[in-house]
């Protein structure tokens, strides 16, 4: 039983006080200031006056920026879908592996996850760029073929600085985010249900879609959420791997703060991104709540 805080006020204050003060001063206060800025406008170079205007939000919803929001959501959704499709068989294989293989496979999934994001992005640049490993390999084969048939000079594929590279990069970075929650959900499944389904004559695919997926749905939902949120707010991947037309919302926000120096507008964009994130979380929470009710009834 939890203790009432009144029974040990000193301990309560000593334990909760410092973290709470830290959180309020260094997190809540900064976010509140950004929120206030989003209702202000620039006066001169560094002065911002709080006028309570919603002009920044109105501007954020103009077609130019709305398009970037929609695009970011699409890119994040596509990334999440790809991660799910790629990650599900991996999670399934890990779940039913022997204990020893399980340990190693999980380690293999987690290791890139622990590796620095910038290094992973840099590694992808080296693979994809015009003189990158992919183009090198293709050129080698091309030249091999050119000895037999006249193919002309090799035209390198433009793999970097486009939307393809951004999606590939986001999938590369976020795959472990999907596999780990999926594994954690699949691992808790009652395996006898699967065996029963197989015994009763259902094939593997049918068992997968009729038994495994419905039972693992909460885990799938949390994997989707955990992948979608960071992908939606991704900054580094579109910045380094994307081209001029692959800007995502985080890149626009960065530009407002670091180059365009329009803090109120950047603040409004940040809060819109934050609201989108909260909506995604709320939808997931509602869905899982609805499922629980169904399960009871």
């Amino acid at each position: 039983m939890e203790q009432s805080w009144k029974k040990a006020k000193a301990v309560f204050a000593a334990a909760l006080g410092p973290p709470l003060v830290w959180l309020v001063v260094f997190f809540v206060a900064p976010m509140a200031i950004v929120w206030a800025y989003s209702f202000g406008h620039n006066v001169g170079l560094t002065e911002i006056s709080f006028t309570g205007t919603i002009a920044n939000y109105a501007r954020a919803l103009e077609p130019l920026y709305l398009k970037i929001f929609v695009k970011s959501a699409w890119v994040a959704a596509l990334t999440t879908a790809l991660c799910l499709v790629i990650g599900f068989p991996v999670a399934l294989a890990i779940t039913f592996a022997s204990q020893k293989a399980k340990t190693w496979l999980l380690l293999l999934v987690m290791l890139p996850f622990w590796t620095n994001l910038l290094i992973r992005t840099y590694a992808l640049i080296a693979v994809l760029r015009t003189e990158g490993y992919v183009n090198q390999t293709f050129e080698w084969f091309w030249n091999l073929g050119a000895k037999v048939a006249p193919l002309g000079a090799y035209q390198p594929l433009e793999l970097l600085h486009n939307n393809f590279a951004v999606i590939l990069g986001l999938v590369y970075v976020h795959l472990p985010f999907m596999v780990l929650p999926l594994y954690s959900a699949l691992d808790r499944l009652d395996k006898s249900l699967l065996e029963a389904s197989l015994d009763l004559g259902a094939g593997h695919l049918r068992t997968l879609f009729r038994i495994v997926v419905p039972l693992a749905l909460p885990g799938i939902a949390s994997g989707v959420l955990i992948t979608f949120i960071p992908a939606l707010g991704a900054y580094l991947t579109p910045d380094l791997l994307g081209g001029p037309d692959s800007q995502m919302i985080a890149n626009v926000i960065e530009r407002q703060f670091k180059r365009a120096n329009d803090w109120p507008f950047g603040a409004a964009l940040s809060f819109l991104l934050m609201y989108l994130t909260f909506i995604a979380i709320a939808v997931q929470a509602l869905l899982s709540k609805g499922r629980k009710k169904e399960g009871v009834g």
Binding site: E2, Q3, S4, W5, A8, F12, A15, L16, P18, P19, W22, L23, F26, F27, V28, P30, M31, I33, V34, P89, A93, T95, F96, A97, K102, T103, M110, L111, T115, N116, L117, L118, Y122, A123, L124, A126, V127, Y133, Q136, Y172, L175, L180, Y183, A185, D187, R188, K191, I229, Y235, L236, L240, A250, I253, E254, F257, K258, W263, L273, M274, I281
Partner: protein
């Protein structure tokens, strides 16, 4: 070799389509990193075709003062912010585990915010905060000049530590605490001799998490760092923007090796990753 039985119905790992899939995913995840590490030893500036083994890019990286300074900054920030995060995270976890108070859900929710808020938004918040409210004095002696970044890192790390510690405390038997009290232990002693020992594995796990998060962070640091407080990711970012050079490969390889060592230590300390990977993955033997 003995002849192996055909795969059982649920032994997906022994079926070839799944094996092929795993292999493809493995290549996808590892080939870029392995290529990056391999080419850090390549004796060619253009970094494409294998020309022979060399360590000269490591030498160059070690003689690159900017890079070394950034590396030292990153490690210092990670160490200090980990220490603070573990203390703050453990405190808030203890308070939330032990006490009942009005507004607990609010504290709970506020604590989750730094975890779910997009990095860019938090980075923006830090930029504004350190520009307008608490301008961090310029030109302080090292490592005090890193203060702003350390504060930012603690802010996003300690809620993660709190989550890990709370998960661990959920398995603590409250009667042990009561027994300690009955036997005459005071508050401090109960915490030190009864609660802390139970908490320790989660403190280690939380510390490793905080350390990696700090070492890994680019976006929030990018918004907090000044020109004289460059961290390793920020430095690599500015190098990568210009070109792909073997020097960056060498520096990255060192960090990857460091990460592998840290992960190995973490696993040694925590035991089986199969038991600790998922938040609830630990309920089997």
């Amino acid at each position: 070799m003995t002849k192996r039985a055909p795969p059982g119905p649920l032994e997906y790992l022994r079926r070839w389509p799944i094996r092929l899939w795993l292999l493809a995913v493995g290549v996808f995840l590892y080939a870029p990193l392995i290529a990056l590490m391999a080419f850090s030893f390549n004796d060619s500036r253009r970094n494409i075709v294998w020309k022979g083994f060399t360590l000269k890019y490591y030498e160059k990286a070690f003689n690159n003062d900017g890079l070394i300074e950034a590396f030292a900054n990153s490690l210092t920030i990670a160490a200090v912010s980990t220490l603070l995060s573990v203390v703050l995270g453990a405190m808030v976890a203890l308070a939330l585990w032990r006490f009942r108070f009005s507004g607990k859900t609010v504290v709970d929710g506020a604590l989750a915010l730094p975890i779910v808020v997009p990095e860019i938004c938090m980075g923006v918040g830090m930029l504004v905060f350190f520009a307008k409210v608490l301008p961090w004095p310029q030109g302080l002696v090292w490592p005090l000049n890193l203060g702003a970044i350390i504060i930012a890192h603690v802010t996003f790390s300690f809620p993660f530590v709190a989550v890990v510690v709370r998960a661990r405390m959920a398995s603590f038997n409250r009667e042990l605490e009561e027994a300690a009290r009955d036997l005459g232990a005071g508050e401090f002693r109960t915490i030190r001799d009864v609660i802390l020992p139970h908490m320790t594995p989660s403190l280690v796990a939380g510390a490793l998490l905080a350390f990696t998060l700090s070492l890994d962070d680019f976006v929030i640091t990018f918004f907090t760092a000044g020109p004289d407080t460059v961290t390793f990711p920020v430095k690599v970012y500015s190098m990568v923007r210009f070109s792909v050079t073997p020097e960056v490969n060498a520096a990255s390889t060192i960090l990857i090796v460091l990460t592998v060592i840290l992960t190995a230590v973490a696993l040694k300390l925590q035991g089986d990753p199969a038991a600790t990977a998922g938040a609830h993955g630990g309920d089997k033997a």
